[in-house]
């Protein structure tokens, strides 16, 4: 049995930790709601871009544009989005292992761009060369970062430095379910649009004004920018969600521990009192014996 003071000290430390986890929970939830706001605002626009692009792909089978023509899969570029910090359950683990297994299957030469310190450390440890130009986009996902990233990656692709471009991020399906996803961004394939439902069905050729190339030259970068921005925000929101859950569990665990320790503390305290009383009673009894 621990002494009363020891138990008291433990309760105090657990209480302090509980305060921290509770605060982290609140911070994560406020960050989450802000991220979701941003995401919802952008969502309509981005889904329209995707459905337009899908429409174009379906209705124009013979598109002759560098962004659509496969060049083999010798060199691949990955953009892996994870968090800056831990303490968020299995969030980082899930997305990074999804990325790793995809990269290992790929073979060939790979270029890995990472977002988030955890991602960088992970791939460095695994012995990959890591490009960290976009490292800091994890903490504050915004449009400017995304634009720089999209421009840089498109340049890489246009200058023929890479054959394929993948993005690995955490898709937020609902507030309780987040799944890591690997999506091929370039060359543009129909498979990347599996979750876009087209609301119209018509059979006709589309007219492009002024030319298919000019339209796609504008549309594809916008699509990529929107995708990267959405992926950053979704990953960020998923991270906050995961952290909220982890911190909520931690707070509950702390509560449970405190309750148990409180019982132990009461027992120990009671034992001390009982002990003292029996000592006093013993003393009194000895006294009475002596003087009676």
């Amino acid at each position: 049995m621990y002494s009363v003071i020891e138990i008291k000290r433990r309760i105090r430390t657990i209480r302090q930790t509980r305060q921290i986890t509770k605060a982290m929970y609140l911070i994560a939830s406020s960050k989450l709601s802000r991220a979701m706001e941003k995401y919802r605002a952008n969502h309509v626009y981005f889904e329209k871009i995707r459905s337009t692009l899908k429409d174009i792909i379906i209705h124009s089978p013979e598109i002759d544009h560098p962004f659509f023509i496969p060049r083999g899969n010798e060199r691949a570029t990955y953009l892996v989005i994870a968090g800056n910090k831990g303490l968020c359950g299995a969030y980082n683990h899930n997305v990074l292992h999804t990325a790793l297994s995809h990269i290992q299957q790929h073979g060939g030469s790979v270029d890995i761009f990472v977002v988030g310190h955890v991602a960088r450390d992970f791939f460095k440890k695994k012995g990959y060369k890591v490009r960290d130009e976009f490292l800091d986009a994890a903490e504050n996902p915004n449009f400017y970062y995304s634009r720089d990233m999209a421009e840089y990656l498109i340049d890489c692709y246009s200058q023929n430095k890479t054959d394929e471009l993948y993005i690995v991020y955490t898709h937020m399906e609902s507030t309780v379910k987040q799944t890591p996803r690997v999506i091929k961004l370039l060359p543009v394939e129909l498979s990347a649009f599996f979750d876009v439902s087209l609301d119209v069905n018509y059979r006709a050729d589309i007219l492009y004004h002024p030319s298919p190339k000019a339209v796609l030259d504008l549309l594809i970068p916008k699509y990529l920018l929107g995708f990267i921005y959405g992926a950053l925000i979704q990953s960020f929101a998923s991270e906050q969600q995961a952290r909220m859950m982890a911190m909520d569990t931690a707070t509950k665990n702390a509560d449970e521990m405190i309750a148990q320790l409180q019982i132990k503390y009461n027992q120990a305290r009671q034992a001390v009192i009982t002990n003292e009383i029996s000592e006093i009673m013993g003393g009194v009894a000895a006294f009475e014996k002596q003087y009676s």
Partner: protein, 137 residues
């Protein structure tokens, strides 16, 4: 009598406009492009300039950034980075942006910056033009 068709104008921040209209005119890369009901499916670039919408026989104008327009049998969608009604345009800010852009162009730094400044200048001029016409009315 011209028929009506459904038009949606969307920016990353909000749905700028949606409703049935009689005609819409945008600036394309080589001049104005007017769409009425029954147009064949088309995807067109939208250049920086003025967006004109005719609804219930009345024309309204807005300043529009670069984007594109998709004409479908069931309606028209215009996607752009930003679209503003004249009421929303800050004239002083647009004027300042115009001057800034002109100054940057004079500096002649790099080709990329030149294009960016050109675009910034076009945006500022489009805003000012829309605002000016609105003020006259």
């Amino acid at each position: 009598m011209a028929g009506e068709f459904y038009l949606e104008v969307i920016t990353p921040e909000k749905t700028f406009f949606k409703g049935n209209v009689e005609m819409v005119i945008v600036n394309s890369s080589d001049g104005e492009l007017g769409i009425m009901k029954g147009h064949i499916p088309m995807v067109a670039l939208v250049a920086i300039g003025t967006l004109k919408i005719k609804q219930n026989g009345k024309w309204r104008e807005a300043a529009i950034n670069e984007g594109f327009m998709e004409v479908r049998p069931d309606g028209v969608i215009i996607l752009s980075h930003s679209v503003e009604w004249p009421e929303e345009i800050d004239e002083k800010r647009a004027q300042a942006a115009l001057e800034r852009a002109q100054q940057r162009i004079r500096l002649r730094r790099s080709m990329k910056e030149y294009y960016q400044s050109k675009a910034a200048m076009a945006r500022a001029m489009a805003r000012l033009k829309v605002k000016k016409r609105y003020n006259i009315d």
